[in-house]
């Protein structure tokens, strides 16, 4: 388990004045924030705060209206998602987006796409280089499945797995791209307590592989347990940021959760925030 | 003679308004179901041929024959929805495309049996020679076609904007489940859309038969051009369809007149492709709305 390495001081992701509008609705407004390499960064906020929109912007599925995004010192705003993925950024989806009719192993192999090369001719003709690459792909995919603990299910169709395993498989698929930065969009949604614990452990092991993790999550136990830093979004704008303990005691954050969004984001969030035993 | 351009305008407006009527047929079904009905052109063909049947076979006077043809084709539209489209509610877009294509083949085949392969004619709605405007001739029947188009556009726009049924039909397209929850009978609305669309296609068919004759395999090309107009005008837009249909007709007529008549069909299609490639929401549709549509 690597501690925060010296390079961590250097930001892996820098957002500068980021803004997004849908028609007349402001989804994100003037977000300036830096994520240092090698940490687990959480982003929390009430529903509709713009967390998923922010992920879509960073991963290239959505072009930001204003501002810049720098990932590994490259300006990536406006890039196609596949280019960003090739640069070392990967993600999972809030609503599971696996290739349901493919096997578990194949799903992970698809994740190796940016780290392999064979094109139409090479694969159609089964050139020697392609066979070597295919073998290597398969081995890497298997080792990743072993890493996340799905090794026994390699041959199963992805769509037939229970939700918890599907969420893990999404992470495995994302890991296969060898990301430097991994965006996890509510990975614990729909998981039971035990599964969530295992997930937390997995995320920490991922950080150990020199991968920075950004986590969007509603489960405050998980967030408080594993995060190094937390950013709170409120109506598309940063409200506060800091260590879990600092966030927990921030009056503005409590107000945000308690006040306007009481009904929606619920007392549960608040309670878990307040009575959190961990820190 | 300087009247040539005016003659092209007349020719373009006449064919253009036919395209517009076909385009409107597409729009009605699309508005309610977001299905593109590839059999739309066949409704036009059937309208024309049935009118011939009612006038010459049943000796009905023209207005009655017109109404009978429109109703009969409307009934075919109903049957198409009830017995074919409804069976495929959960089908993929591809399956739906194939289903409507298959239905159009069946309609065409049946028409071939009913009427044979020869073209048929119908007397113009009003007798009398062409009207002359400085050397350019306009057939009175063309005025009927234009008038019919205008009436249909106005009525439909009113229907969809003002009447409770029209609004309910639009709601079905937007979100069928939500519509169902607020008490809109979605099935009835879908049924109604096919009826309406088929009836309008048939009316177009009756109106153009005196000008262009009608035979069993006329539908496909009319359907294609009509779709071009529908896309160009923005799918779902009635006034857009009208303007785009007329534009398409004019473009064809002027192309035939001043450029190459062989490539005039290609002109309409090139316009269609350009619209699809660079402005898929159509000339008059809004891009915001287009993003919300499923296709």
């Amino acid at each position: 388990m690597t501690a925060i390495t010296p390079q961590a001081a250097e930001p892996i992701l820098e957002l500068d004045g980021l803004g997004v509008q849908f028609g007349g609705v402001v989804a994100l407004r003037d977000i300036t924030y830096q994520v240092p390499g090698g940490i687990i960064q959480s982003i929390i906020g009430p529903n509709g705060a713009g967390k998923t929109t922010l992920f879509n912007c960073i991963s290239g599925l959505l072009a930001p209206g204003t501002g810049s995004i720098r990932f590994r010192r490259q300006r990536i705003a406006g890039w196609a998602p596949h280019r960003i993925a090739a640069l070392g950024l990967s993600r999972t989806f809030q609503q599971v987006a696996l290739f349901a009719h493919m096997s578990v192993l194949e799903n992970v192999m698809v994740g190796r796409h940016p780290r392999s090369r064979s094109g139409f001719l090479a694969t159609g003709l089964r050139l020697p280089g392609m066979r070597r690459e295919e073998r290597e792909l398969r081995e890497r995919a298997r080792s990743i499945l072993d890493f996340v603990g799905l090794g026994d299910l390699a041959a199963a169709a992805a769509g037939t797995l229970p939700l918890g395993q599907q969420k893990i498989l999404e992470i495995a698929r994302a890991l296969a791209t060898e990301p430097r930065l991994l965006l996890l969009d509510e990975p614990a949604g729909g998981l039971n307590t035990r599964e969530t614990e295992q997930l937390g452990e997995l995320i920490q092991r991922i950080r150990g592989r020199d991968t920075t993790v950004i986590l969007v999550e509603h489960d405050m136990n998980l967030v408080m347990d594993i995060s190094d830093r937390i950013l709170v979004l409120y109506f598309g704008h940063p409200l506060a940021s800091g260590t879990p303990s600092a966030i927990k005691d921030n009056p503005e954050v409590i107000q945000a959760y308690l006040g306007d969004d009481w009904a929606e984001s619920s007392a549960a969030s608040y309670t878990s925030l307040d009575n959190h035993p961990g820190r | 003679m300087d009247s040539a351009w005016l003659q092209y305008v007349f020719a373009g407006l006449t064919t253009g308004s036919i395209y517009a009527l076909v385009a409107i047929g597409y729009n009605i079904i699309y508005n309610v179901t977001e299905i593109i009905n590839f059999a739309q052109g066949e409704f036009v063909m059937l309208g024309g041929l049935l009118a011939v049947f009612f006038m010459e076979g049943c000796r009905l006077p023209l207005p009655l024959a017109f109404a009978a043809a429109v109703l009969a084709v409307g009934a075919i539209g109903l049957a198409m929805e009830r017995f074919v489209i409804r069976q495929a509610r959960n089908a993929s877009v591809l399956s739906l495309i194939i289903i409507t294509i298959a239905f159009s083949i069946l309609l065409k085949g049946s028409a071939m049996f009913g009427w044979g392969k020869d073209p048929y004619r119908l007397e113009p709605f009003t007798a009398g020679g062409p009207l002359l405007f400085g050397g350019a001739a306009l057939q009175p029947q063309a005025l009927w076609v234009l008038g019919l188009t205008a009436v249909v556009v106005v009525l439909l726009s009113l229907f969809f904007r003002r009447s409770i049924y029209g609004k309910a039909m639009l709601a079905c397209a937007d979100n069928p489940n939500a519509a169902r929850m607020v008490g809109v009978p979605v099935r009835t609305m879908v049924l109604l859309s096919f009826l309406l669309s088929a009836a309008i296609g048939a009316a177009a068919g009756v109106a153009i038969t005196p000008i262009s004759l009608m035979e069993y395999d006329r539908g496909a090309l009319l359907g294609l051009k009509g779709f071009g107009a529908a896309v160009l005008g923005g799918l779902g837009q009635f006034s857009g369809a009208l303007v785009a249909g007329l534009l398409l007709g004019l473009a064809e007529a002027f192309c035939a007149g001043y450029l190459s008549s062989g490539y005039k069909d290609a002109i309409a299609l090139v316009l269609l492709l350009l619209a699809l490639f660079f402005k898929p929401e159509g000339l008059f549709g809004s891009s915001e709305a287009a993003k919300l549509k499923r296709f």
């Binding site: - | 003679m1 003659q7 064919t15 350019a136 262009s212 004759l213 090309l221 005039k264």
Partner: protein
Amino acid sequence: MKATARWSQGMAVVMLAVALMWPCASVNQARAAAEEYLIGAVFSVTGGASFLGEPEKKTAEMIVEQVNKSGGINGHPVKLVLYDTETDATKCNLAVKKLAKHDNVPIIVGPSTSGESLAVVKVAEEEKVPLISCAASYKIVSPVEERHWVYKVAGSDSHVVGKEFDYMKAKGIKKLAVMTVSDGFGASGREELLRLAPEYGIQIVADETYGPKDTDLTAQLTKIREQKPEAIINWSVGPTQVLAVKAWRDLGMRNIPLYQSHGFGSRKNIELAGGGAEGVLLALARVNIGPLLPDNQPQKAVIMDYTKRYADLYKEPISSFGGHAWDAVTLAIEALKAVGPDRAKIRDYLENKTGFVGQHGVFKFSAKDHNGLGKDDLEMVVVKNGDWALAPWK
């Protein structure tokens, strides 16, 4: 993987189906070996050229039935093996191969269209089976050295063009506007019109085309009017030739005579034009105008006989297309009568056949000419009082 395994089942179904179809095939072959004389036929009974194939099929069936009623050919009953090509070159190609190899016919009549005929020329040559096409293009039988086995009974477009140009020349017309439909029929006519015009001192001042499914031809005719021609000739089949007449009338262009191709030669077209066709001129084969012919005209008897029988049987008037089938099938029967079901002998018989009195003319085949018709086998007619009349040359 399930799906791929299922595939094998599907394949098994196909194989089974193929196997089931086999017995029917062999039965046919067995019958072919009997004393029945076969005549193969491929017509466009459905599809784009069904207006050709339909009367051709009816005519062929009528003649064969007639022959069988009167005791067959030298005592052999005749069987017509007819396939519909759906106006599709691929299907036609396959149908002719089937006739040649599987049904083993000694002679084939058809196909109906030039395109389909050209698509099977190679088959007839390779299979060495005589084929009498009912389509017009001269390419079907030329170069004649490479068309050893192929004949055609429809006059070439050049004959019709020649006849109409003769007439125009007699009327002093020098500036002509041409409008043609962009399908095989129109394209072939256009080629001949443009090619032959200089020979008759005629200048083409406009050359317009349109699609076979067009709904309005006023744009083309307006453009033509701008060029001030002394006559217009339209070359198409189907509804567009009626639309041309309607636009010509509506635009008030009666002062410029309108000529049509022989494709206009059906009374239905006069009806469809709703009185607008008065004065339209065209060159027609005599089969269309039997009653107008003088009694001493050699073709009159066969034409009147065909006209009556066809009308009695099908309750509809004959068309010139049916006449092609009459000529082709009758030729085939005469050949079978003379030399029996031997492909090579039939071919030689056809090549030397002269003086065959048919619906479309008096045929004179030779090694140089596998069509045997000329422009003298046509008559100029004009639409008068809603019917054909011989056109006055003075």
